[in-house]
Subunit: 353 residues, 2 copies
DNA sequence: CGCATCATTGAGCTCTTTCAAACCGGGTGG
DNA sequence: CCACCCGGTTTGAAAGAGCTCAATGATGCG
């Protein structure tokens, strides 16, 4: 740690120099001295010492005046302030403390008394500063973050949405952030002619619908349940409160957003250059991965309509039918009633053009 | 503001009740009382009062003990602590202050003395809390944010990139955040076969390349200069420091990211359903808007190669040529050497299918 | 002036969409 | 119980959008 700086404001030369010497030699502090209140205030404002020792009776500006001046200043108001004075009357001490002094040492005092007093005030200030800061840094552990977010979710109202039910629509004003407890939800955009393009499938334990909240704008996309879903509705205010007071949570969302951007760019690349065949394959993979529990499952059964697949792949549902027929011929999938069994997600993923 | 809560720890029933009454009636505080140190400590931890008044000589646990116990506890260590005691000896007072007491009132005391002492300590604590919090909230004004960001940019090294020069490439480990001072830069992805898809054109006064930094991952996209560009290279560490210490800055980037997501979704919709004609038109509009200074300019001259346009529109450069020829026939644009004059950005924007 | 790069144009081909018709399974009402 | 209807699905055929390949033109730089 840096050497602490102490400002001594004292008109008596002897005491001033004597005290300064003690503090420098015994305490190992940096010492600034001022011979009257006015100079003291100036020095304090300019140098922002870690602690201030001040006499009461002085020419120019007395100790109370110094304390008053410094307590007006944003930057000096929180510097521990100790009076060193010959005034041993109770009223004097009370006045000093009521004005906000942190300690009151009656002269003559021991070196030890002075050093202890200083140490005590510095310790107090340090610990306060550090705990206040702690609550405001990203030092929250992954677990703590999750606890906070879980609280948020647990306090929230839970609503059940039926398959196909709209959760929010383009143009709506956001009032909630959503957290998916079970089921699947898709976010989608409308094209001018009414066709839909699904941009994302949300699944268990994911937040969604936060972009517009964060921008403080209306929704530019819509969301609906892809299958029956349980969704926690987190009031915007609660979300913001946590977000702004816990940088760790903000950081978490920053990462979420950054990750989302990458995913969307990847998707964009697909829309630009992939053949429809490939896009359909990727869509199946995407749905499969949102369905499985373990990340290494390779055979998956998914239940999804051609229309939903079409909206995801950005193609016509007839095309989906054709592609599925092709994949079936190639023994990549098989249709089981209204479900599709994917034999190998990996193989589907590695389809070339 | 809520009613403040005061905890009185005092074994003498009369004094305890008397003091409590004064504080409740005259001071308007909530008062909790404890008849010995042990109970006092428990109450303090459980109720977290705003201030604690404590006798020194008590059965079970004396005042020093109480102060010691509470100063061990994260949650109670910063509660202002005032001793109320008959011990008027200097050594007693020194001991109390050295242990971290905030004030020391010798019995018998006036009501006024007590109330003033309490008010003074509460005031002190409030102001410290509020200023410390201020530096950690999003209350930074738009201007202050910009000042901070400008400092960041001004401190950074500036590098000149020539047209076509690569700034970073997929797979590189990010070490800078980039801020464009002049010129244009494009971010792009490589498709498997080597074709490129530009995802964004960055222009004057924009940050770029921050997504990967924020994710703490390697770049998943590349960036190159679309024309000669002056770029400030902001070291990752400086960026993070600002980001984590100033929630306002984090908030700014959260908005940036959220906005980016919306833009990318919009783009995706275009790639999925727009005709190439429309995509080319949009691309021209995009480039034009990144070129103009005033947002209402309608006639714009842009200089950009067919290949760059193709990468932006996600199409073949031959197609770009054909589309430009069409637009020229339709008197929407005219070719001037290697530049393109757009007669009306609006008209181009409104092209149907 | 010549080379290299960039831009344009043409022709054929493929992929995808669109429109239309048929199909399938299940629920409903007669 | 059966015909019917409805939504979702499949299949067919034709049209067209956009790509590739290839040749030709234009431009600018050394």
């Amino acid at each position: 740690m840096n050497k602490r700086t102490i400002l001594i404001i004292e008109d008596n030369l002897e005491i001033r120099e004597g005290t300064a010497e003690i503090l420098e030699l015994t305490g190992g502090y940096n010492v600034l001295t001022a011979e009257n209140g006015k100079i003291g205030v100036d020095l304090a404002i300019k140098n922002l010492p870690d602690i201030i020792l001040c006499d009461i009776m002085m020419p120019e500006l007395d100790g109370y005046g110094v304390l008053y001046m410094l307590s007006k200043h944003e930057s000096t108001m929180h510097i521990p302030f100790i009076f060193l004075t010959a005034k041993s009357e109770r009223v004097d001490m009370r006045k000093a403390m009521e004005m906000g002094a942190d300690d009151y040492l009656v002269k003559p005092f021991d070196d030890i008394e002075l050093l202890n007093s200083i140490e005590s005030r510095l310790r107090k200030r340090d610990s306060l500063q550090s705990t206040l800061e702690k609550s405001h840094t990203l030092s929250l552990s992954e677990d703590d973050q999750n606890v906070l977010l879980h609280e948020l979710v647990n306090e929230a109202r839970v609503k059940i949405y039926k398959k196909k039910q709209l959760i929010y629509e383009e143009g709506d004003t956001p009032i909630y952030v959503y957290y998916l407890l079970s089921g699947k939800v898709r976010s989608f955009l409308y094209y001018q002619d009414g066709r839909e393009l699904s941009t994302y499938i949300h699944t268990k334990d994911e937040f969604f619908g936060y972009e517009s909240i964060l921008l403080n704008e209306r929704y530019t996309e819509s969301a609906s349940a892809l299958e029956d879903a349980e969704i926690a509705l987190i009031p915007k205010e609660n979300f913001f409160e946590l977000m702004f007071n816990k940088p760790a949570i903000a950081t978490k969302f920053i990462k979420l957003l950054s990750g989302d951007i990458k995913e969307k760019e990847e998707q964009m690349l697909g829309f630009a250059y992939d053949s429809v065949r490939k896009r359909v394959a990727n869509t199946l993979v995407q749905v499969a991965q949102k369905t499985i529990s373990a990340p290494d499952e390779d055979e998956v059964v998914i239940r999804i309509s051609r229309d939903d697949l079409a909206a995801l792949a950005g193609t016509a549902n007839e095309t989906i039918s054709r592609m599925l027929a092709d994949f079936k011929d190639e023994k990549l999938i098989i249709k089981e009633g209204n479900a599709i069994r994917i034999f190998s997600v990996q193989k589907l993923k590695n389809i070339k053009q």
